[in-house]
């Protein structure tokens, strides 16, 4: 086994917001009946979090759970723990119809932070990013210009952005353009 390397290996950029690739994040796609007790318990056991509602994200650092669709969750766990957590989850879900699969390596994760972070994202995602519309605790599964992406807030002016690994280079360059110096919009 060699040292796993994330898509951009922690590349970063400072513009009107700071863009950094976060490195590897354990991620499990979980599909099932989100109102089912077994699924709710499996999520709780894996993350300590309760089941998120529509467009909600309960995330604390590298651990958490995000609502992705009416029958899909994105479960976050530390990268090193993903196999163990996945195995436990599969065990717990044994009796019900559900799908849990490791997608940690299929993704890239970025942090977009700083005073203009909201504006940087509002340039590439058709999402209302005003303070009254988007806050920590929410997630949007949307697009980042021409590719699929999702993001939530870890704190004020602090976003985590997820995209497919193959698009990491595109998304990094895209966010760099969106965060280029002098491009503050001045609304958020």
């Amino acid at each position: 086994m060699s040292e796993p390397i994330s898509a951009l290996n922690h590349a970063s950029y400072d513009g009107i917001a700071r863009i950094e690739e976060c490195g590897l994040q354990g991620m499990i796609t979980l599909r099932g009946d989100l109102s089912g007790k077994v699924v709710i318990k499996a999520v709780k056991d894996a993350t300590g979090q309760k089941m998120p509602g529509q467009r909600e994200a309960h995330v604390d650092g590298e651990t958490g759970v995000c609502w992705m669709s009416p029958d899909e969750l994105l479960v976050l766990v530390p990268y090193a723990e993903v196999e163990a957590k996945l195995a436990a989850m599969k065990d717990a879900l044994g009796g019900v119809h559900a799908l849990a699969v490791n997608v940690s390596d299929a993704r890239a994760v970025f942090r977009v932070s700083g005073a203009s972070a909201r504006e940087v994202l509002a340039k590439v995602a058709p999402v209302d990013l005003s303070r009254d519309a988007f806050q920590p605790g929410q997630i949007r599964r949307s697009r980042l210009a021409q590719v699929a992406g999702a993001f939530w807030m870890d704190g004020e002016d602090d976003f985590r952005v997820v995209c497919f690994r193959s698009a990491a280079d595109y998304v990094f360059k895209l966010l760099k353009v969106a965060a280029q110096p002098g491009s503050e919009v001045g609304v958020y």
Binding site: S6, L24, A98, S104, A122
Partner: protein, 1004 residues
């Protein structure tokens, strides 16, 4: 001459001089000038030539409606043609060039068109360039192309130096237009608590009200503007943007704002333009009104200007377009221009009022000593490159009994038309206002939103009212209505009281003089940019063009870059008159976004250069790039076509890779192949429907090649399916098919078989997958060590989980090359390390990476089909001889019934065969085989086509596959493929498997 006045100029800063050039001549202006005002200050009356007749043209307007004063702006990587001088803010170092002339603005060859104008009426092109037919391509088109276009395209070698971006905004109320109406409407809406965005296309708030005068709540208009702006700025729920034009209004409250961030400070950090993509619950269009020209002979001579524009130049920029001015009007408003000019010290020689009487403004004018001539009109303006004389006649006449007066500028006013463009973009309807002779928004028929309610409210003069008081009252109501429409409670409140001098009614004047003789009508311009005259529209009517849309296209009225902002109403009034119809019966042409042209850069946003398009990269992308990869786009992925070594051609590299893979060891980055996990109690049943063959019976640990068809029976994808456990399958798709097939599966699960217990997940990118191919494949894996990859432990078409070289992996014994082959999947984040380990360990076995072309050749040698080559959306598996992969036992699968239709079972369908050229050469890709006889169009009958064709280094000859009529029954026959190179290629029909027909090599 036109000149700078000693005083006035509310928008310029006389302490800050700005230097610019026009056609290479250095000129001076002030900060706050537009390019138009600065040109006028430098007595540059003539600024361009018209499109068709190359007539000299001057500045006619002061804003977005300007049809004439377009220039090429900037140079090199910042050059842009067709920029309106009236909306270009002056900056130090600005370089402008006039357009549409040769060799120079002053001396132009194309003006010859002007002298033969009577032979170039509307429809001239249609009538003339039809016969004889062959002349079109070789004579007419080249000439027309040469003379087409207004400005020059930027040099093809340069690249735009600037960046652009989009921005998504969501508001309750979007107010478009920052004049007094927009400001008041925004304020009323904002006070209700609604989130409001107010955008204004110019660099200043207040619109034209401060120029027109009057008072608001007893104070000057400027004061009201200043106060309202500061009130709005203080509100958290309000966003204000200057230099941001409302470009278009679309369905569901979507609107585009075009912000010109640094046009006035070129080279500044940050994007040049920003396209605001706005979702608004309600939109207020406070877009003002545009003054109409009057149609009299010579109304296009430089120095003839809209009366309001002339007033703007004096008040805003301290510039007078002339020293002896004649004013022609059909309304009271133009008197304000005469009064303004007079007070600024300019000689106003006459006010020619087409009406018999005027309101109190006329008395004021007379009081200043201006001669007012009621019932008079301009018969003709004389002068070439600038106004010299005006011939005056009675309005009610044919233009005779003239009196000539020398002057150097003419102000004209034909009344005002509300800017209804944005109201109309999304379906808002108009009504004809007889009193003001204009179309205005019909409040009962607004553009409708998703809930069936109107989502656009027009405000101020954009809604019809023209006096300051009425404008403010209307804006107050509009702001409240929009807030209410957006779900807020707006306090009606009292509108500010606007007071101006009362005006007498205007009178519609569509032609000056009313019965102008034909010589005058032929010089009375309607569309200045496209050279459409009154006589052209009348001719169109005589020739039977009754629809305004047809007349527009026949005459090109309103088809120029200004989209008829000045010409539209005048033109359709002439048309209505010629057709003896009511104006509202004739109607307007369609208003389409954008309001004025917006930059291509703004539309593209950030999508240029490195981020023009996403390029998907596998974990080994950088290694490939360093190792000579000649890239091939496959969907959004880039895959190495071949790894070219120094001194090799791409073709050399492909041949080397082909031979090495067959003889030693090849590595292919197969990470791009789609991988879909399908899991659940009904997954087997589901896959039996998805694939033509049986997947439910596949044993755990085994693999099966499968075909997927659409419900119409056509082949859409193929790939190897592996059964992972009792209720889990992993389906490989083609590289381009992963997302598409994932969506295809989800669609069937969500819309048809929603009660089946199946979940699908796309795990394509979780794995880096490497095809280890060739006689030495097993040796390299055994050298790396780990799981047993022997023939017995891991037989052909099976898979195992384990470790190789310390990497957790899943090894598949599958082969797309016909060689001993493994596909090894490892976590993507270890893909590069695994690839490195294989390359290192493979050295002694002659390892080389190979690209997609080698992959293609290897599979073609084996007669394996490729989705996209052998299939094109019209091919069914039966055409490809894939009957063995179509289950006869299954009751149903997608495509089954379709494949039983008569056309699908027709024995005449072209079928897959191998093709071997008689002389060993390579068949041209896509070439058609010809048969006997000709079809109904006199073309040779076709009997087949080439679907894949390659040079096989292993066989030392060209090999190909193709679809041929009755192909499998014609083995050994030689058929002919005429190439586009004039040669006829002869090929023998053979079995499509060229290499190792018994499949022994892959099964060792």
């Amino acid at each position: 001459m036109s000149t700078r006045l000693a005083n006035q100029g509310r928008l310029i800063d006389r302490s800050k001089q700005v230097t610019f050039t026009f056609n290479g001549k250095t000129m001076q202006g002030y900060e706050g000038d537009t390019l138009a005002s600065a040109l006028l200050a430098n007595d540059q009356m003539m600024v361009g030539r018209s499109f068709k007749y190359h007539r000299p043209r001057g500045i006619v307007a002061s804003g977005a409606e300007e049809p004439n004063a377009l220039v090429g702006l900037g140079e090199g990587s910042r050059f842009e043609p067709n920029q309106r001088t009236t909306t270009t803010e002056l900056f130090d170092g600005l370089k402008a060039e006039s357009q549409n002339h040769w060799p120079s603005l002053e001396h132009d060859i194309g003006v010859v068109n002007n002298y033969v104008a009577r032979f170039l009426p509307s429809g001239f092109y249609y009538k003339t360039f039809i016969h004889p037919k062959p002349f079109w391509k070789h004579v007419y088109e080249p000439i027309i192309r040469q003379s087409a276009g207004l400005g020059k395209a930027p040099d093809k070698e340069t690249r735009d130096a600037d960046t652009y971006e989009h921005f998504y905004a969501f508001v309750d109320v979007l107010v478009i237009g920052g004049g007094v109406a927009g400001l008041q409407a925004a304020k009323v809406a904002a006070k209700s608590g609604a989130k409001v965005m107010l955008i204004e296309q110019t660099a200043h708030w207040g619109g034209r009200a401060p120029v027109d005068g009057g008072t608001i709540d007893g104070e000057p208009v400027d004061k009201f503007v200043e106060q309202t702006v500061s009130e709005l700025e203080a509100m958290d729920n309000v966003t204000l943007r200057l230099r941001c034009m409302g470009a278009g209004v679309y369905d569901h409250g979507y609107a585009l704002g075009y912000e010109r961030i640094s046009d006035h400070t070129p080279g500044a950090q940050g994007p040049r333009h920003r396209l605001w993509r706005i979702r608004a619950k309600q939109i207020v269009t406070a877009t003002g009104a545009i003054e109409r020209p009057l149609s009299f002979a010579g109304n296009d001579v430089p120095g003839v200007m809209l009366a309001s524009a002339m007033r703007d130049y004096v008040v805003n920029w301290g510039v007078t377009p002339g020293e002896r001015v004649i004013v022609a009007t059909n309304n009271d408003d133009a008197y304000r221009t005469a009064i303004t000019l007079k007070k600024a010290g300019v000689d106003v020689l006459r006010i020619l009022d087409a009406r018999d009487s005027a309101g109190p403004l006329a008395d004021e004018a007379r009081g200043l000593g201006i001669r007012v001539d009621p019932g008079k009109a301009i018969a003709k303006v004389k002068g070439g490159k600038r106004v010299k004389k005006v011939a005056i006649c009675n309005q009610n006449g044919i233009g005779g009994a003239r009196e000539e007066v020398e002057c150097d500028a003419v102000a004209m006013s034909g009344g005002w038309s509300p800017v209804v463009h944005l109201w109309s973009h999304c379906g808002g309807k108009l009504i004809w206002d007889e009193a003001n002779a204009h179309f205005r928004p019909d409040p009962d028929r607004p553009p409708l939103g998703a809930n069936g309610e109107g989502f656009v409210v027009a405000a101020g003069s954009a809604n019809g009212p023209l006096s300051l008081g009425d404008v403010l009252t209307d804006a107050q109501a509009a702001g409240a209505a929009a807030a209410k429409g957006a779900g807020f409670k707006a306090k009606a409140g009292k509108a500010p009281v606007g007071e101006t001098t009362a005006e007498a009614p205007m009178e519609a004047v569509w032609l000056m003089p009313a019965n102008a003789e034909v010589q005058l009508r032929m010089k009375s311009w309607l569309d200045f940019q496209n050279d459409v005259k009154v006589s052209d529209v009348q001719l169109a009517a005589r020739e039977g063009y009754e629809s305004v849309e047809h007349t527009k296209r026949y005459t090109t009225l309103g088809m120029a870059t200004d989209q008829g902002k000045l010409s539209n109403i005048n033109g359709l009034a002439i048309l209505a008159d010629s057709l003896d119809a009511e104006i509202p019966k004739v109607g307007t042409t369609t208003f389409r976004p954008p309001y004025t042209p917006i930059s291509m850069g703004a539309i593209a946003g950030e999508a240029r250069g490195e981020v023009f398009q996403p390029i998907r990269r596998t974990p080994m992308h950088d290694w490939h790039d360093r190792s000579g990869a000649d890239w091939e786009p496959v969907g959004q992925w880039r895959r190495p076509y071949a790894y070219v070594r120094p001194g090799e051609t791409v073709h050399d590299a492909v041949n080397r890779e082909v031979k090495n893979t067959r003889e030693n060891l090849g590595l292919l980055d197969a990470s791009t192949l789609g991988k879909l996990i399908v899991k659940g109690p009904d997954a087997g049943k589901f896959l039996d429907m998805m694939y033509t063959n049986m997947m439910s019976t596949l044993k755990v640990g085994k693999c099966r090649y499968g075909l997927m068809c659409s419900e119409n029976g056509f082949l859409i994808d193929d790939g190897v399916v592996a059964r992972i456990d009792e209720d889990t399958w992993l389906c490989h798709t083609t590289t381009g098919g992963a997302e598409r097939i994932h969506a295809h599966m989800e669609e069937w699960l969500q819309t048809e078989w929603w009660d089946w217990k199946v979940y699908v997940a796309n795990v394509t990118e979780q794995y880096a997958q490497v095809a280890v191919v060739g006689p030495n494949a097993r040796k390299v894996l055994e050298k790396l060590g780990g799981m047993d990859v022997s023939r017995e432990a891991l037989p052909f078409m099976e898979w195992r989980d384990g470790q190789i070289g310390g990497f957790d992996c899943r090894a598949y014994r599958i082969s797309f090359s016909g060689e001993l082959s493994y596909e090894i999947a490892v976590p993507a984040s270890q893909g590069q390390a695994f690839w490195d380990a294989l390359m290192e360990a493979g050295k002694e076995f002659g390892v080389m990476p190979y690209g997609t072309e080698c992959l293609h050749i290897l599979r073609a040698e084996k007669g394996f089909i490729m989705i996209g080559d052998e299939t094109d959306g019209t091919v069914i598996p039966q055409d490809l001889g894939l009957h063995w992969a179509i289950s006869k036992k299954k009751e149903d699968f997608l495509g089954k019934r379709a494949q039983e239709r008569s056309h699908m079972t027709d024995p005449d369908r072209w079928k897959l065969v191998g093709l071997e050229t008689v002389d060993g050469s390579v068949l041209p890709d896509g070439a058609y085989a010809v048969g006997e006889g000709v079809n109904a169009n006199g073309q040779r009958n076709m009997i087949g086509r080439v679907t894949s064709t390659y040079y096989s280094a292993n066989l030392g000859r060209g090999i190909a596959m193709g679809l041929v009529k009755h192909g499998p029954d014609r083995m050994g026959e030689v058929i002919e493929f005429p190439g586009t190179d004039g040669k006829i290629y002869k090929a023998k029909i053979v079995d499509p498997v060229f290499y190792d027909k018994d499949g022994e090599k892959q099964n060792v």
